[in-house]
Symmetry: C2
Subunit: 385 residues, 2 copies
Amino acid sequence: MSSQPPHPTVLIPGPIEFDDEVLQAMSTPSESHVGMPFVNIFGDTLTMLRRLFMTENPGSQPIVLSGSGTLGWDVVSANLVEPGDDVLVLHSGYFGDSFADCLATYGANPTQLKAPIGSRPSPEEIEKALSAKRYKMITVTHTDTSTGVLSDPREVAEIVRKVSPGTLVVVDGVCSVGCEEIRFDDWGLDVVLTASQKAIGAPAGLSIMMLSQRAVDTFKSRKVPPGSYFASLKNWLPIMQNYEAKKPSYFATPSPQLVRALNVSLKQILSRPLEERFEQHRVASRKVKDAVARLGLQQLAANPAHQANGMTAIWLPEGMTPADVLPHAAKLDVVFAGGLHREIATRYIRIGSMGVSVTNPKLGHIDKAIKALESGLMAAGYQIP
Amino acid sequence: MSSQPPHPTVLIPGPIEFDDEVLQAMSTPSESHVGMPFVNIFGDTLTMLRRLFMTENPGSQPIVLSGSGTLGWDVVSANLVEPGDDVLVLHSGYFGDSFADCLATYGANPTQLKAPIGSRPSPEEIEKALSAKRYKMITVTHTDTSTGVLSDPREVAEIVRKVSPGTLVVVDGVCSVGCEEIRFDDWGLDVVLTASQKAIGAPAGLSIMMLSQRAVDTFKSRKVPPGSYFASLKNWLPIMQNYEAKKPSYFATPSPQLVRALNVSLKQILSRPLEERFEQHRVASRKVKDAVARLGLQQLAANPAHQANGMTAIWLPEGMTPADVLPHAAKLDVVFAGGLHREIATRYIRIGSMGVSVTNPKLGHIDKAIKALESGLMAAGYQIP
């Protein structure tokens, strides 16, 4: 059925399993990064991102760079805030700390609104914080990959409009774009940043983002130059605009193979209604989460309304570590992830449910995951209650 | 013979044509970036880079990041110099200007020693500049891809040792690593940075570098934190050291497919003596340059000792532009590059001679290039003198 060689099924919260056609695009023979065949592909890819992010505003700016998802934080921190600017970072796990570190690196002044592990800041807390001080920007991790906590960017943007309309709304969508509903225009977002290797379903290596007209204007009215060179919008905006206009352009060499894989993946995603895709991810995620409950286990995200649809983070039974469970799952040819949140890394595991593993039920990946979880726990000595 | 679908032969100064096995590695199915199969591959890749750069000093530090070659400038500029530090930038084309821009972005104070187009700063000029002022760092573009001018990092390092031994020697080897001789230890270099898509022969998308113990120590004794997050050695040094020690580690998700392609390419390169590889590049380049002379044309790099072996930059006949010649070459299924140096971009073309196109003569790429150059010029109305 698949043209891929046999391999363990990767069900971690990214990188995820690939569709055959996406993976084949990675083996596209060499081509010039400024030749028209590639320029056309790159241009179409940028335009398709507008549809994925649900933005029709021509002032919105899609960006695709060679790099990890992390690079998106540098683009935000080096271009959209200036030294001394206050930023409110909504913390729902590890990635809030890291984004705050990145902001501070470029001279911004991040304040973290931290929730207990498995939770997220409440609307009341966010409103209070935004009312108490003028923030240039607020950041929210849509799905924190370390905890599986889902935040609500729409709600955050609504609070911002109510109490601090001048504040830029930045969504870290690394683990959400392609599996969680995101309506860039409708919700009034200013930045959504993501990466290629999660629910978008392409191999790792691309940093992907959408900027609003307001974000671009904020960049253009900077008083000091951007704090990065490789992540500078001064260097990249004209290049992205040229590629989308199908004009060859050069700042740094893009990766034709990765961009072609992304192109194929976006075509597949957009060939069906996005709402259907989101629903498929809700259903698959529900299936995993129901199994976790049946096994008598808890998720890090206790509140069902705060549980991501692209992944599930599961507390292990008392005294059990990922090293007890994951090798057993591996024997069933399934790769899960251990913990990532520093304070509790040895006490939980993570299961991804994104992309083809969800949209192509014939692959049977979700059922396989549930079986591997069950067997892994039992082999590690767990008694299902 | 090749498993690749028919496609025009890409003979630009990067990206270059791929070996079949390298390209196949790009279609490796998904795997965890912290699973042992990938950790072992990444670790071996870092260790092989030591051999490619000819360093046996255990204090040398190989680094591989998702990004374009340009990202290497950010790593240097954000980590190895501090705001206010003076840097001497040896300019032999477009890339000197860009590196200087990058250094200035992070607060360093670059002084460019500029040579006329097609030339490079002389040893006397370099010695004079280094004697006149204390520079924290000197940078040299080994091959400037915009001009095809080859510099001499060994000579530069010798001058530094003589007149300013405390100065770090940084080589931009984007267009030279893998095709020009570079002896990291013997020459006393502190940084050589490169990218995956040139003479190393892997697809674009990886920034690759080697740091000396002295460069690492310089970083460790910084007074202020690094000026970048994604390019921060504070974030990456432990990760690279863990990968090379075959220990899973995470800062930002690497690209398993690109790293596997790099791994295959390095294995191929190191399976034969490097000196043989450099000689093959000298011979192939000589063949192109002899043909250029036979056609009565000049190279941008007038002095034969200053001509790169991985590429050739050729002045077009008076009044002719790349747009007159390249489409005719394309009809013969060969892709050349236009000019890149801003002041003269419409007056010259560039031909790459790197990687499999050189090391696998059975492919016939160099002969094909010469024929396409000849036919392209004639079709554009040129009369061979």
